[in-house]
Symmetry: C2
Subunit: 239 residues, 2 copies
Amino acid sequence: MALVSSGIVNTIGFDADDTLWHTEILYTRAQDRFKELLRHYHSPEWIEERLYQTEIANLPHFGYGIKAFALNMIETAIALTEGQIAGQELQAVVNLAREMLAADVQLLEHAVETVAQLATEYDLMLITKGDLYEQESKVARSGLAHHFRHVEVVTDKTRDRYQQLLARHQIEPAQFLMVGNSIRSDVLPVLALGGCAVYIPYHLTWAHEVAAPPPAGHPGYYQLEHLGLLPDLLRTMKP
Amino acid sequence: MALVSSGIVNTIGFDADDTLWHTEILYTRAQDRFKELLRHYHSPEWIEERLYQTEIANLPHFGYGIKAFALNMIETAIALTEGQIAGQELQAVVNLAREMLAADVQLLEHAVETVAQLATEYDLMLITKGDLYEQESKVARSGLAHHFRHVEVVTDKTRDRYQQLLARHQIEPAQFLMVGNSIRSDVLPVLALGGCAVYIPYHLTWAHEVAAPPPAGHPGYYQLEHLGLLPDLLRTMKP
């Protein structure tokens, strides 16, 4: 890790969904109920496959988040029933979206104490992709907001976006470490900038976020089993 | 205006929707097509009334933007037809949303030259409420992005939110002037902070945004007929 750790990390970026709090599980459960709703029409596998196709096709139009997901479910249900599905059944989908939006924020294990502890030593930034309204609401309800110096909701997590964010807050990439559950969004773009990245896998990953991890031993790249191990890792990185 | 103009304005905030580009017209047109879709069930007035009720009830759940609007139309259509509406007809509503999202950004008259001219003398900020994904896409397609030093998409435009934004960018309220078409979102909160505000009415206003203007002669408050008059007003404000 010689190349990167010449800078001393002073700012830690945290992804939020499935890094600090559970999110994908909400989608998985909603999808289960969606498959149940359409069980008289198609097999669960085919419904899942078609929903995923709709999501990918609509991503450039609808972006991320629960409202987009709801519209994708509605469109998929109409297509899969050749327009035969009744309004009443589609209301169940709208209700599903409202329930998801109102669901309690379920923090991951170790999130509270890790964030609280690191906030005393580092500047913390929350960097999350998705719908502004949803994410702000979750940040507010998480009880963690006061530990973060900055909260940034973004529409994508590309190398350029990270560069822009770090520049805005006058943070050197070499002094920045990103923590998240997506190789594609939290790890690769930050390593490409010369920052550090800690990958903490979550047991569910949306197919669209799946990417190959960097080669073992890549400078600045770490993998941990859970958030509680982060303070120890940071200690080993100090000069 | 003695109280406020002791600071010299150096930063101008612009609202975007119906201040720089047409937006409400898209909603009005979509609403017309929605009323047409349901014409066999109810009167246009009743459909409009019920849609508005749904929008207000869902605002805390869905927030602003086209995706929220689409879900509101779908829910209203289901309710107004007692669940009888067919999937096929609801697909028309989803399509309407996709068309709205893809619609060309139609700049208001005078927007291009006013923004370009003021950018040479002032720091410009775009401050717009709504869906992050939608707004970023419109900013990018407007051709105006490079004139703005900062683009801020927010979930609300309260006094606290403006205070937070100005603090983040180290702008004194007395040196800040906000331009927009909403008394409620662009004018009152900024005046409350001690900034200046220019109200430029648009011929359509969503009922939820309607508010009484400040009393005539309120310090720092101005009203203009169109954007093209803004540079002249700013010249008169210089000491």
